[in-house]
């Protein structure tokens, strides 16, 4: 009985030969490989698919990570509804809204950065979108610094120096604990995202990405958008629940 050929076990690369760009490695089996194809994948499509799926699995753990804090928020808000309204009324809705828009703009520029890599745009164009994304991410953190400074100067940081002149100091302190935990964890994710984007930008500048290989841009884009989604929920839940405090409630 003749031995079966490689292709009958792994039909992928035979029927869908990858688009080859740049240096081609030969002498490894019967097929030419994309230089960025790792050996444990059949082809570039499978590599992208596996990386995307892996990132989503990580993002699911991130959903649960933030989910614990959202659960704490839900429980404590249910226990202290009026105190949360009173405490939230002290946050600046305007800056919260500005930061929401800043993050949405950065998500758009991130999507455009991925697209520019997919369409094999010039490295310069890819770098421009990535730098724009990092710029808006930095603006977001800058606004956060201004807000945190305000909380520190007004003794709104939970702990021995917490001062609340309103009716519900205990509930307000819980609200501000959650405010700092949730926005702090979110800001940490932004900082990590900026670090990732720095690496991706350097890679893009070296001309690493084109239509045949853009997996790192795609995967870091997923992370960036996820951080944006967390803020989409944090903004109304933290900043907007106190607008009518004292208006007949």
């Amino acid at each position: 009985m003749p031995s079966q050929s490689h292709s009958e076990h792994f039909p992928g690369p035979i029927h869908n030969p990858p688009v080859i760009k740049g240096e081609v490695h030969k002498g490894h089996g019967p097929h030419a490989h994309h230089p960025k194809l790792q050996h444990h994948f059949d082809d570039m499509d499978q590599q992208l698919e596996a990386s995307t799926l892996g990132m989503w699995v990580f993002l699911v753990t991130e959903i649960m990570f933030f989910g614990g804090l959202f659960m704490a928020y839900l429980m404590y808000r249910w226990a202290n509804p009026t105190a949360f309204q009173e405490a939230s009324a002290h946050l600046d809705k305007f800056w919260g809204a500005v930061n929401t828009i800043v993050l949405i703009v950065s998500s758009l520029t991130m999507a455009m950065a991925v697209r520019s890599a997919q369409t094999s745009a010039k490295p310069k164009t890819q770098v421009m979108w990535l730098v724009a994304t990092m710029f808006f991410g930095t603006v977001f953190l800058g606004v956060k610094v201004v807000e945190y400074t305000d909380k520190f100067t007004h003794n709104l940081v939970p702990g021995p120096n917490f001062v609340w002149t309103g009716q519900y100091p205990a509930g307000a302190e819980i609200f501000y604990s959650l405010y700092f935990c949730m926005t702090g964890l979110h800001a940490l994710h932004m900082i990590i995202g900026l670090g990732m984007m720095t690496v991706i930008t350097v890679m893009a500048r070296r001309g690493t990405f084109d239509g045949s290989y853009y997996t790192p841009v795609e995967v870091s884009g997923l992370y960036w958008h996820f951080v944006d989604i967390v803020w989409i929920f944090l903004f109304p839940l933290l900043y907007l629940i106190g607008a009518h405090y004292g208006a007949g409630h």
């Binding site: 990858p18 688009v19 499509d45 992208l48 698919e49 995307t52 799926l53 989503w56 993002l59 699911v60 959903i63 649960m64 989910g67 659960m71 839900l74 429980m75 249910w78 226990a79 202290n80 509804p81 009026t82 105190a83 809705k93 809204a97 929401t100 828009i101 949405i104 703009v105 998500s107 758009l108 999507a111 455009m112 697209r115 997919q118 369409t119 009716q167 205990a170 509930g171 819980i174 045949s212 290989y213 853009y214 795609e218 884009g221 958008h225 996820f226 944006d228 989604i229 989409i232 929920f233 903004f235 109304p236 839940l237 907007l240 629940i241 607008a243 009518h244 208006a247 007949g248 409630h249």
Partner: protein
């Protein structure tokens, strides 16, 4: 690679929808609907999050497996919220205790 390339027009429409959603959330918070304010703001946030997931994150064009994994995160989140709150709600010794 054969990953889906969306048209720039889709990205700009999604962006416009997200900005409109943010403005709507802000304006809705200024109107007093009572407890219904929470429903409005969370509904808008859910729509915005769905737009980001489907289009910016490209799940709309991803494999079924990615759909299932992405959705599973939110299913587990609902289990976390649902079971925890069913416990607290059925006891009635916490509500308004600290106000």
């Amino acid at each position: 690679m054969s990953g889906h390339i969306a048209s720039t027009r889709i990205y700009y429409w999604v962006f416009a929808a997200l900005i409109i959603g943010t403005v709507l959330t802000y304006l809705a918070a200024l109107v007093d609907f009572g407890a219904f304010n929470n429903v409005v703001m969370l509904a808008i946030a859910l729509v915005k999050a769905s737009l980001v997931i489907l289009f910016f994150m490209g799940v709309r064009w991803s494999s079924r497996l990615t759909w299932v994994v992405a959705a599973s995160g939110f299913v587990w989140l609902l289990i976390l919220f649902g079971i925890t709150m069913s416990d607290y709600l059925s006891r009635g010794w916490m509500v308004g205790s600290l106000r």
